[in-house]
Homo-oligomer: 217 residues x 2
DNA sequence: TATGTTTTGTGATTTGTTTCACATTAACAA
DNA sequence: TTGTTAATGTGAAACAAATCACAAAACATA
């Protein structure tokens, strides 16, 4: 079982996503050159870290002129080698699934949700423009669009079953929004996004800060 | 500026959230005792790591009997010291905001969304049961419920403005779903949850695995 | 009460990541 | 040309996290 969690995916790559997101925005604002400190400032890391990260993946700038935004962007995208694999499906069109499926900015980042699925026949006709398929058509769509990555937004009870089915149909990467640890074969990658944990961690940090401050009083 | 990101919050705490989530489920299933390997198995870390994490926060089990589920849970919750700070507000009732506000499981984790806000007058009456307030009433609600933590789910353009306003009204922790790095004073904690990055990281990992495999062919 | 077994708890070690310090380079100005 | 400056690039050092290895405790059983 290979789980990508905060620790399992190279930290440097995680940061390179951050740089990429920022670069997309800078580029669309007409910024043609960026420096390690530009990226550092905008992503909250140090300039040395930015350079070291690029260094690790053989991305190089100009010793005085920094980096050319457009070519840096395409170098990062080449690193990701995104095009052949960016078709994604979404299973579970409840609250969260619907929110994700309506989000228009994914395509700007090269993420193309080609189809969505739900067991509930009522959900299957929620939006005609963005057709929701029954799970029976999973294999057909996965094959037709060469889908390798799926987003799971079903209740925790169903998550493992859905996961097994997807893997047996050729899915090799899963973004899992349900709060369970999915069991998958070694050749499948899972990223668990636990929104409760994200919120709890802030609540806790606020508490910790309060505590630390009170040490000085 | 204090940003909590993947690197800035203690890793051990991040894992303790995982254990907590699992414990909540085990406890509701009637499991009364857990061992370091139970938690390890269910969260994808090693048993030694689990013990070391608890050790770091002074949580101790019985040298043969493992940990009592219920008391472990309350020890973790005591560590979080959650009660005085768990009221949360949500700003931005678009796709994502609505999904979050409808999620029924937050309260089980001690996260209580006391009110939601949106500038759009149409959104303000979407659901009568879960009233959506205009931003003009932020201060009143923040004070009334002693809210210290807010979730931002507004478009990236508005995110910094909303953030500034919230901080000036006493908010000390922010979960930010917009893809911008918020600038906040040192005493405010920010957790950026970037869903695009989460999906992209899986796409990339799948690609990497393919690449590694092909080395053996 | 002695003995074996299971599981925790933790110092020591290894492994991984970030920061530091500075050599290197490109651009520009005089 | 020849400094001077503003950047990058990277080995070394410092730091942080994870794993290992085993002592200590608790319990069961005879
Ligand atoms: N909504 C949130 O804000 C939020 C927050 C944290 C975690 N989550 C987690 O995300 C997941 C989805 O949350 P939600 O609020 O959208 O839940 P939901 O109950 O609103 O939606 C789940 C959807 O999955 C569908 N479904 C169930 N079994 C299925 C199957 N086998 N195949 C296909 N579809 C199936 C259901 O018909 C339903 O439409 C849950 O695991 C939840 O715990 C959600
Ligand atoms: N929906 C997704 O799946 C998704 C995925 C990745 C990132 N995001 C990010 O999350 C954020 C929200 O996404 P969304 O899809 O819900 O957007 P959305 O446009 O559907 O909703 C944004 C809401 O915020 C409200 N708003 C705008 N300015 C406001 C202000 N100053 N005060 C209060 N409310 C205000 C708008 O009226 C709208 O209802 C965006 O920043 C988006 O980039 C969303």
């Amino acid at each position: 079982m290979k789980q990508i969690t905060k620790h399992n995916i190279r930290n440097s790559l995680r940061r390179i996503f951050l740089y990429h997101g920022l670069l997309v925005r800078l580029n669309s604002m007409g910024v043609t050159r960026v420096f390690s400190y530009t990226l550092a400032e905008g992503t909250g890391v140090t300039p040395e870290q930015v350079r070291k990260d690029f260094s690790e993946y053989g991305i190089r700038g100009n010793r005085r002129g920094g980096y050319i935004t457009a070519s840096l962007l395409s170098e990062i995208e080449a690193l990701f080698n995104r095009d052949w694999i960016s078709n994604v499906i979404l299973v579970g069109m409840g609250n969260l699934g619907q929110a994700l499926s309506k989000y228009g900015q994914f395509i700007k980042r090269g993420i193309n949700i080609v189809a969505t699925f739900d067991v509930d026949p009522y959900k299957q006709k929620v939006r005609a423009e963005n057709c929701v398929y029954p799970p029976g058509r999973l294999q057909e769509i996965i094959d037709r669009f060469s889908v390798k990555v799926a987003i799971i937004a079903v209740p925790d009870i169903s998550a493992q079953d859905v996961c097994n089915e997807l893997v047996s149909m050729g899915i090799r990467g899963i973004v899992n929004f349900s709060p369970v640890l999915l069991k998958v074969p070694v050749y499948v990658v899972v990223n668990n996004v636990n929104l409760c944990d994200e919120i709890e961690s802030v609540i806790l940090s606020v508490y910790r800060m309060k505590e630390e401050q009170s040490l000085f009083l």
